[in-house]
């Protein structure tokens, strides 16, 4: 196994929403076993960033991504305008893909212009920057099973290489129709983090990380009861990091980046180590 260089970034704000983990405050209680998960899936959040007329019509991906992104920025005390962003989604909006492919197969000339522009993978990122008036760059990435890890890596790399905080937003929704038989995805999952290159007042955890070449894929699993809450969602393997952020103990986790590449992370919550700026792990160089 080869190790890369060790880097560190600081999590300043968290946003989260899954069908049975509605909001980060509730999710923290549920993920740590302090409260039971709701028996029924929560209705989707209403994105306050959009004009009232558009809130109901917004695609699920947009509603979810905007909700968790806004909550993470609030928690971090950062103006969304000031943050570059990385949006990650395995499949984009599977419900719109289903609707468009259905129309294209039957009556292509009736394709809806709104559905078409909502179908692009960067729709959520586009609505986010429009809604917040943010001129900073965004990107929108996919990496199949590795999407959460690859998106997180890009956000960490941006924070360090540009020496500025970055918003990371990862989401996938329920699949519908025939495309769902090929890419089944259940429920909804959306998580957001404000990732800073420096420790600050609002830091909630330090993330020390490195990219490692590995013989076998390495993916840390959340505890079984928590895994069950997002089971079947295409972004489910992103839950481990949120579980680690909810816990008040230091934890080493791995996120797969490719079949032979792993993002190894040590998650140190602010509650267990102050000041966080002092590195706990030996630097590799």
């Amino acid at each position: 196994m080869t190790s890369g260089r060790l880097h560190e970034v600081f999590i300043e704000g968290v946003g989260f929403w899954a069908s049975r983990l509605p909001g980060w405050a509730a999710a923290r209680e549920i993920l740590t076993g302090r409260a039971p998960a709701p028996a029924a899936p929560a209705p989707r959040p209403s994105p306050a960033l959009l004009p009232p007329a558009e809130r109901r019509r917004a695609p699920d991906t947009v509603a979810l991504a905007l909700e968790v992104a806004a909550r993470a920025c609030e928690a971090a005390g950062r103006d969304p305008k000031s943050l570059a962003s990385v949006f990650a989604s395995t499949h984009g909006d599977l419900a719109i893909s289903d609707a468009i492919c259905d129309t294209l197969a039957k009556t292509p000339s009736l394709t809806s212009p709104t559905k078409f522009h909502n179908s692009v993978h960067n729709a959520a990122a586009g609505y986010w920057t429009i809604g917040t008036g943010c001129l900073k760059p965004y990107t929108s990435v996919s990496g199949y099973y590795f999407t959460f890890g690859e998106g997180l890596l890009e956000a960490c790399v941006q924070a360090l290489s540009e020496a500025a905080p970055v918003l990371y937003v990862a989401f996938d929704i329920e699949a519908r129709g025939p495309v769902g038989t090929m890419q089944p995805s259940r429920g909804v999952f959306a998580g957001a983090l404000v990732i800073s290159p420096e420790a600050g007042e609002r830091t909630v955890a330090r993330l020390a990380w490195e990219v490692r070449e590995v013989d076998e894929p390495r993916q840390s699993e959340p505890r079984a009861a928590n895994a069950a809450l997002v089971e079947g969602n295409a972004m489910a393997n992103g839950l481990t990091l949120f579980e680690a952020l909810a816990d008040d103990v230091e934890r080493d986790i791995a996120q797969t980046l490719a079949p032979h590449l792993s993002l190894a992370m040590r998650v140190t919550p602010a509650a267990v180590a102050r000041p966080l700026a002092a590195p706990l792990m030996q630097r590799a160089q």
């Binding site: 468009i100 259905d102 078409f116 993978h121 990122a125 001129l135 990435v141 996919s142 490719a258």
Partner: protein, 395 residues
């Protein structure tokens, strides 16, 4: 942050105007368009398209059959030109498979296969057997396929920010190399014609019934195209240099550019800043120039305001069509060819230039010294990316 200059040690592109650098450059010099009347869709659609001929007769090699679809076929086709496979092979030997990243852009990836599945649903509501391959029904089909085809093990991402996708991959790769996450990166992009984009852009009333005429006052919209293009980025080595890039958002509208080109301007100035250059240092700009009413108006005004009269600028979409998620790499390759050869393409199909155009935008082809050049990519969802390239360093 200043970008660290990277060497573009290999590059190639294939599109309707030609496969590989030699054919593409020849078509540009001869002003021979790759656009033709739409023969791609069974349902009628009165428009011109830039279709790569022969893709239908070029199946993937047996070992890669699981990835079979038009988009991955075009990717494989594109990898065969200009010694690109050999250059990647050498990089893999030099750095190790885990140290070579793959960062590729697309807008629709292999959704053509998903569309076909819907057109051919069985009575059970299921895809036909040969399309029941999950990996071709998702966005990362492209990046994952190319990583497997090139036998690489590094960071692997598919970027999907519409028309800026395969320009932004250069920025992402530069950061990965700067931070030491990779030692080399295969960047580029592939997009293929499909019903989604043809009927989708038609629904937005952006599709031209004639071959597109960028910056012409009588322009009637875009001509859609397809392309595959790749570049190999390394810290050292022979080849032209990536000197900078600028990325920004318009924060304006999902399918219409900012009326004053606010985001586009930020991207241009950021690219120049990272490269430590001024507008007067730029000899050629390959424009986004889609021939949509709005894009060309906004972009023409921006170029007229920012650049001196002797900077040449043009849109090459009259040759290639708008390759959407592959436009960034296709036009980066044309820009790199200009740096290497001194040949600067003009603008094809357009009869005259809109009054918003300054003296920079040219219809006719030209020759001259090209020291530094820009490539503009402005996308749907207000995502902008501008790339800054320079000539090879003296070895």
């Amino acid at each position: 942050m200043r970008a660290v200059p990277l060497s573009v040690t290999a590059f190639t592109a294939s599109c309707a105007a030609g496969s590989g650098r030699t054919a593409l450059l020849e078509a540009l010099r001869a002003r021979r368009t790759g656009l033709a009347a739409n023969d791609f869709t069974e349902a009628p659609l009165d428009t011109f398209i830039g279709r790569v001929r022969g893709v239908e007769e070029q199946p993937l090699p047996g070992a890669l059959a699981e990835w079979e679809c038009r988009n991955n076929r075009l990717a494989w086709h594109g990898l065969q030109s200009d010694g690109f496979l050999q250059a990647v092979e050498a990089a893999r030997e030099r750095y190790g498979a885990g140290r070579v990243a793959v960062v590729l852009g697309t807008s629709t990836s292999s959704i053509g296969a998903t569309e076909e599945g819907y057109r051919r649903l069985g009575p059970d509501g299921q895809y036909p057997q040969e399309l029941r391959r999950p990996i071709v029904h998702t966005v990362h089909s492209l990046g994952y396929f190319v990583q497997r085809a090139l036998r690489l093990n590094g960071v692997c991402v598919t970027v999907a920010t519409a028309c800026s996708s395969s320009a932004k991959v250069f920025a992402q790769a530069e950061r990965l190399l700067r931070l030491g996450i990779a030692d080399a990166a295969v960047v580029g992009g592939v997009d293929t014609l499909c019903y989604s984009v043809l009927f989708g852009f038609n629904a937005l009333e952006l599709v031209s019934p004639e071959p597109c005429r960028p910056f012409d006052p009588a322009r009637r919209g875009i001509s859609l195209g397809e392309a595959a293009g790749f570049a190999l980025l390394e810290r050292e080595g022979r080849g032209p240099q990536l000197l900078g890039y600028g990325e920004s958002s318009d924060a304006h509208h999902m399918s219409s550019p900012h009326p004053e080109g606010l985001g586009a301007r930020l991207a241009v100035t950021d690219a120049l800043r990272r490269g430590g250059l001024e507008p007067r240092d730029i000899d050629y700009i390959n424009l986004h120039g889609t021939a949509s009413q709005k894009n060309d108006e906004v972009e023409a005004r921006l170029v007229a305001e920012l650049f001196p009269p002797d900077t040449r600028a043009s849109s090459t979409k009259g040759w290639t069509g708008h390759a959407l998620g592959a436009a960034g790499i296709l036009e980066a390759v044309i820009t790199l060819l200009a740096l290497e050869s001194g040949f600067m393409p003009g603008t094809l199909n357009s009869r005259e230039l809109d009054t918003t155009c300054g003296p920079q935008i040219r219809l006719e082809n030209g020759e001259g010294e090209v020291r530094h050049a820009l490539s503009h990519s402005f996308g749907f969802g207000g995502s902008n990316c501008v790339l800054l390239f320079g000539r090879a360093r003296l070895q």
